[in-house]
Symmetry: D3
Subunit: 148 residues, 6 copies
Amino acid sequence: MPEERLATVRPVTEQEATGKVAEIYADIRHTKGVDFVPVFWRTLATNPTQLELVWTTLKRLMHPEATGAVSRLDPRTREIIAVAVSATNGCSYCVNSHTAALRKLGLDDETLGEVMAIVGLFNMTNKLAEGYQIQPDVLPPLPETDGA
Amino acid sequence: MPEERLATVRPVTEQEATGKVAEIYADIRHTKGVDFVPVFWRTLATNPTQLELVWTTLKRLMHPEATGAVSRLDPRTREIIAVAVSATNGCSYCVNSHTAALRKLGLDDETLGEVMAIVGLFNMTNKLAEGYQIQPDVLPPLPETDGA
Amino acid sequence: MPEERLATVRPVTEQEATGKVAEIYADIRHTKGVDFVPVFWRTLATNPTQLELVWTTLKRLMHPEATGAVSRLDPRTREIIAVAVSATNGCSYCVNSHTAALRKLGLDDETLGEVMAIVGLFNMTNKLAEGYQIQPDVLPPLPETDGA
Amino acid sequence: MPEERLATVRPVTEQEATGKVAEIYADIRHTKGVDFVPVFWRTLATNPTQLELVWTTLKRLMHPEATGAVSRLDPRTREIIAVAVSATNGCSYCVNSHTAALRKLGLDDETLGEVMAIVGLFNMTNKLAEGYQIQPDVLPPLPETDGA
Amino acid sequence: MPEERLATVRPVTEQEATGKVAEIYADIRHTKGVDFVPVFWRTLATNPTQLELVWTTLKRLMHPEATGAVSRLDPRTREIIAVAVSATNGCSYCVNSHTAALRKLGLDDETLGEVMAIVGLFNMTNKLAEGYQIQPDVLPPLPETDGA
Amino acid sequence: MPEERLATVRPVTEQEATGKVAEIYADIRHTKGVDFVPVFWRTLATNPTQLELVWTTLKRLMHPEATGAVSRLDPRTREIIAVAVSATNGCSYCVNSHTAALRKLGLDDETLGEVMAIVGLFNMTNKLAEGYQIQPDVLPPLPETDGA
């Protein structure tokens, strides 16, 4: 059995970070209001471009206020989407961290259970629709046909 | 090339429905406020038990008021979860019908785009976390350890 | 590294269960013929509605005799479907518990290996069909066209 | 909108097939008892090695009698696994062709519905187990510990 | 049956594009060397932030030379990853567009077939490893343990 | 909590292997240039037919030179496909073993990060294309229409 390890690469510690990576680490701590940089980000830092692209996208979408932008979704809804996607994909790291985020936002067991039950339901109906190859008959309205 | 078809089985038409299936068809029309029974339900009706189990679950979770229950999530959030799961699974029928439901609830292109962008983002981060096998370091708090 | 934990929420112990949850726990023990309630069900119990919906569906489909219903599939085939789906989704909890169920039903290594080989084969062919975007040319017969 | 097409490559017609590909085409027709080679196989034939590897595996597992081998699973169970996996993966080509195969074996709507309901159920429970990150507590028995 | 449609929203035509969206459309045409903006990008444009985030990431990773960056992977390898991921996810739009990109780069049927065969193989082995819950015994070397 | 275990079945040790299984074990050690048989193969060996089918396919595709065949892809590209698929599927065993293989081939953190970033990107765009149900408009050229 292998020893416990954090990832398939050695994450970049906060002490080792320099330049662009150090700047992003500081931005993560500040934007998320945490006092350490989660191992997810320290793993991406093994390729600084990757770290920058993913952080820029996540910061803009999940912390819009930090970029001067306005979201049409409240923080709880955004984190619920994160948990719904992560549960559907079975991502252990992401389920844990986004459930933690929902807890910080005050979500209780009862409401989390409702989220999960709905996630489970649509995973069931999705596979039924695919398993029978059911063709769409309820379509969203379009304002007008695209001429392209 | 095959002729156009609705599913791998012949869906049960509203005219053909009798007994339990006819009752559920009426309940679907009434609960959803639609004037036809979508082909998804008419396909499940080829096995009435299946129709009943799935409709009971969906009605309770997505139309709680129709069962006398109270949801801690608003209808828009519930449909956003449906779209997030269906997009992640790539289910054509479900993406179409739940986007249609979100339209009925007044969701505009801009907000749908934000939902989709977040769905896309977490599909990306989920696969990065898995692709590096990153071990969870941010965990949701537990009130106390389970003694089981 | 985090301490060992059972789930992202604290499961409801058998001692804590009351009312509807206690009734379902008793039904699970009785229906499954086990002397403890598996942590899967105790986790769902953090939202009793979720526990009830999922247990009702699973009991009806996997323990039909306990509901007075008759299945057209034998127990072994039903558990083989459970393992095939769980392997395809990569669900650790479910692969373990349904492999255990197949063992109880007397399935040996050789037969489990045949199930797995077929699961693996169709995961391969599914992705080849999708990777080449091959259009269906072998379709199941329909008794007659749906007029809807 | 693009014209209708069979795949992202041009499948090898039966007239064009020569050598190894022609031999495998003949074996497919004979083993499956069909009078044409389905487009799936004709697409794989654009790389003859691929055709050979996939056909050898599928023939051995799904038509064992044609290779002189004995299966511990009956043909219906093997095709049920194929449909369960294909529904879970949402593979249109495969859902269609394996539902057709189940029809040939005499499976009726009611039984197909039971298969689908169970496939849907375990897609739901799989995602609940992952969405809560529930740790396995029901494990299959092992005869003895591996000393490796 | 519904009329043919391009997406669940009406894509933004090139004529309608203004401001930031028009700029990105021009950049897409220029960077990709195409004389129209594919409907994928015109759909994302219904939320301009989404368009910008996704295009910035894709341009940096798939057209690094256009951003003054250097890739350690050649264009063919990058597109092979795109096709491998898209086939595994069963994404019709993406399989088509990235197979087209590989054709432009000169990839022939034989080599595409080798890519697909390997994609199919690892989808098979992935599910076998998950279906048996095999624990990792071959781990990538780490330079030293992370002290975090 | 369960004791540590290698798989849901007891893998066949090298000492126990006889006949066909022993031959394949020897071939694995020789072809891969390793001094032990990884637990993946020893697990498949619980059904010798499964072991033979999977090893024959993997050997032909990933070690073509050992079968006298020629690959149009270099070993690094082949392993990159393995990692891309395994990351997309979230297979822990496979991500670890194929990242190890890429390390042996000299891939550094920076390049692995580029592979991962591209894998993440296309998981994002795949789900956007599906989430909007975008219809293909960029198709690979076909030499001529199939007359079938």
